[in-house]
């Protein structure tokens, strides 16, 4: 990938990261639950790089990063997360169900593996109607515990659907390596795709370049009519994730850490945004240029938040609208 392309990839990743950091810093204003995509930015950027306008994307409860990377209006996202009026969802959806129909995300299911099975149907529609585009189903390793996942793999393979299964695996690894993770009896997650005759690749999701190449290869195969593909993106679990509200235990990202090897501990070594910044520095881009980019992204994210936080709630009548067809 060329320098300018990598810079735009870093911009997408920074947009995702600064969006979540700003949200966590203002968590007191959020009246419900939210999940952040910190550590998942490499997958989000790969998705944004591979998608076309005619594609459909099924995200999940951890959807902020992918939406930020594909260019969704961040103020609309913040308004929805804060329960304010302004976007099409008008406070009925919240963080869990953020969507962007104009960018191929018509609906977001927050049920683990639930969205994967919906994505199978979206791919079936593409196939039966002869429509352009493919479908991405993004899910966590937790979905591999649900029966719905295996029904979905089976249907997608039986019907040779144009579907990319993107597993964002942020589980704690099994200690002795005999299992994929502590909640999975199978040795590898890709093995579970293999038994359904779905070609599968495991990749270090913390390496944005490798992630993008793996995604591009899988997408090319699916676009070529080769049926479904499965990607396991191995991610370091970000330590700030929690059952209810995330906490910024690693502090805010400092891009200058990209020039200080080993300066900020284990997370810093695994952080995909820093990995991308380091790659750019190796390519000869100056840190000062990265910092300029970061400041610009950050300013726009903070403006989006400030504007959203000043927005009003939707009128009560919105609670009863959109239940039935007009």
């Amino acid at each position: 990938m060329t320098g300018p392309d990598r810079l735009s990839r870093l911009a997408a990743m920074l947009r995702a990261r600064r969006f979540d950091e700003t949200l966590i810093a203002n968590a007191a204003l959020v009246t419900g639950v939210f999940h952040v995509s910190i550590g998942h930015e490499g997958v989000a950027a790969a998705l944004a790089g591979a998608r076309r306008a005619s594609d459909l994307i099924m995200l999940n409860h951890r959807n902020h990063g992918a939406l930020a990377a594909i260019g969704t209006d961040l103020e609309v996202c913040y308004r929805e997360i804060l329960g304010r009026d302004g976007g099409p969802q008008r406070g009925r959806a919240g963080s869990l169900h953020l969507a962007d129909a104009a960018r191929g995300v018509p609906y977001t299911s927050a049920m683990v593996a639930g969205g994967v099975a919906l994505a199978v149907g979206m791919a079936l529609a593409k196939q039966r109607l002869g429509r352009e585009g493919i479908v991405f189903a993004c899910f966590g390793d937790g979905a591999m515990g649900e029966g719905a996942m295996y029904e979905s793999l089976n249907l997608a393979a039986l019907w040779a659907l144009p579907l990319v299964f993107v597993c964002e695996s942020n589980a704690s690894a099994d200690r002795d390596g005999s299992r994929a993770n502590v909640l999975q009896a199978a040795r590898t997650l890709t093995g579970l795709a293999d038994v359904h005759q779905i070609p599968a690749t495991s990749v270090d999701g913390g390496d944005p370049e490798a992630m993008a190449r793996t995604m591009d290869d899988a997408v090319a195969a699916v676009r070529g009519g080769g049926g479904p593909r499965f990607i396991e993106a191995r991610l370091q679990p970000w330590p700030g994730n929690a059952a209810f509200l995330p906490r910024l235990v690693t502090g805010e990202l400092d891009l200058s850490d990209a020039e200080r090897p080993g300066a900020a501990g284990a997370w810093s070594a695994a952080d995909p945004v820093l990995a991308e910044a380091r790659a750019l520095l190796r390519d000869g881009v100056a840190l000062a240029d990265l910092l300029v980019l970061d400041r610009s992204v950050r300013a726009s994210v903070e403006r989006a938040f400030a504007s959203a936080a000043g927005a009003p709630s939707a009128p009560d009548s919105v609670a009863m609208s959109g239940v039935w067809a007009p």
């Binding site: 969802q89 018509p106 919906l118 149907g121 029966g147 979905s152 089976n154 959109g322």
Partner: protein, 317 residues
């Protein structure tokens, strides 16, 4: 000339008509009638319009919903209604939320067909009445036809409407005959199938046919019973229900579901709230799983004799 058909004939005719009208309409499975009712040729005539999934109710139901969001309308014949419990999560927790969560920008016009209620011999795991659960889900349209005209309207409504819809069918309706109009009726409107001044029996699906038989028994005793058929359980047409019941001061609501949370109990509550002086009674299947032996089924599921007895008790005659 009015066309008179058996219920199963009207169902097949309606399905063929909708398949012909919408060339992209796809069936995920073909067990609309089979294995309980005559097939009427669906499988041969529309073989290329039926995609047979494996026994995977979750993914099949979800795929139908996802396909609907992406522009492909499907009908999912689930056959025995309890099989739907494996696909419950997408049916009650994805499809009905699509319009709401997307702020009206996306819809999931998908149809599911199930055979519910007592078919005899199915026993506890194959004779459920899921309509009592389904009608409590905002955004999920629930249709429970009772007559050939109803099923004609229900199939049309489910396959042309914009809301996710479940047709709650009943195996034992197959042979009942009835007239059909030249075009499908409006499934939303309650239908007065028999008039009578002493009492009104309000019901849906098979219990409407049982109520009509009960009305015949009551007529022999000089009691004039009217029968109102409410085929759309959700969203319940409140205003139309109130208008259709306002002439009667004594109303019996009959439901094959167990009483708690049943569609008939909801109708009763709506009518009594609007007209506190009405004398209303609820007759439902008793609170036990479906038994196997026919005599035991009759002991808990209302039939014409029980409905007639309940009316006489209500009138004190």
């Amino acid at each position: 000339m009015t066309l008179v058909l058996r219920y199963h004939e009207a169902r097949s005719r309606a399905l063929f008509r909708e398949l012909d009208a919408n060339p992209s309409l796809l069936l995920l499975g073909g067990a609309v009638a089979l294995p309980f009712n005559p097939d009427d040729g669906l499988l041969e005539r529309y073989a290329d319009r039926i995609l047979w999934p494996p026994i995977s109710e979750f993914a099949t139901a979800a795929a139908a919903i996802g396909a609907a969001m992406a522009g492909l309308r499907t009908l999912v014949p689930i056959s025995t209604s309890s099989f739907m419990f494996y696909g419950w999560a997408p049916i009650v927790n994805e499809a009905p939320n699509v319009r709401y969560l997307s702020g009206g920008t996306v819809s999931a016009p998908v149809a599911f067909h199930v055979m519910a209620g007592s078919r005899r011999g199915g026993a506890a795991q194959h004779e459920h009445t899921p309509q009592a659960m389904l009608h409590n889900v905002p955004g999920l349209r629930v249709l429970a036809p009772a007559t050939p005209a109803d099923v004609d309207a229900a199939v049309h409504g489910a396959l042309t409407g914009d809301d996710p819809t479940v047709i709650v069918d009943n195996v034992r309706l197959a042979e009942f005959e009835g007239p059909l109009g030249s075009s499908p009726a409006d499934i939303r409107l309650p239908t007065l199938l028999r008039d009578g001044s002493d009492v009104l029996i309000v019901s849906y699906s098979l219990m409407v046919q049982q109520a009509l038989l009960a009305a015949g028994l009551l007529a022999n005793r000089g009691i004039a019973a009217a029968v109102l058929d409410v085929a759309q359980l959700a969203p319940l047409p409140h205003a139309e229900l109130l208008a259709a019941t306002e002439r009667h001061d004594t109303v019996l609501f009959v439901d094959e579901s167990r009483a708690a949370g049943s569609p008939a109990s909801h109708m009763l509550a709506r009518v009594v709230q609007a007209r506190p002086r009405v004398t209303a009674r609820l007759l439902c299947t008793l609170d036990a799983p479906a038994p196997f032996a026919p005599a035991l089924v009759d002991a808990i599921v209302p039939g014409p004799a029980q409905i007639a007895a309940e009316v006489r008790a209500l009138l004190g005659r």
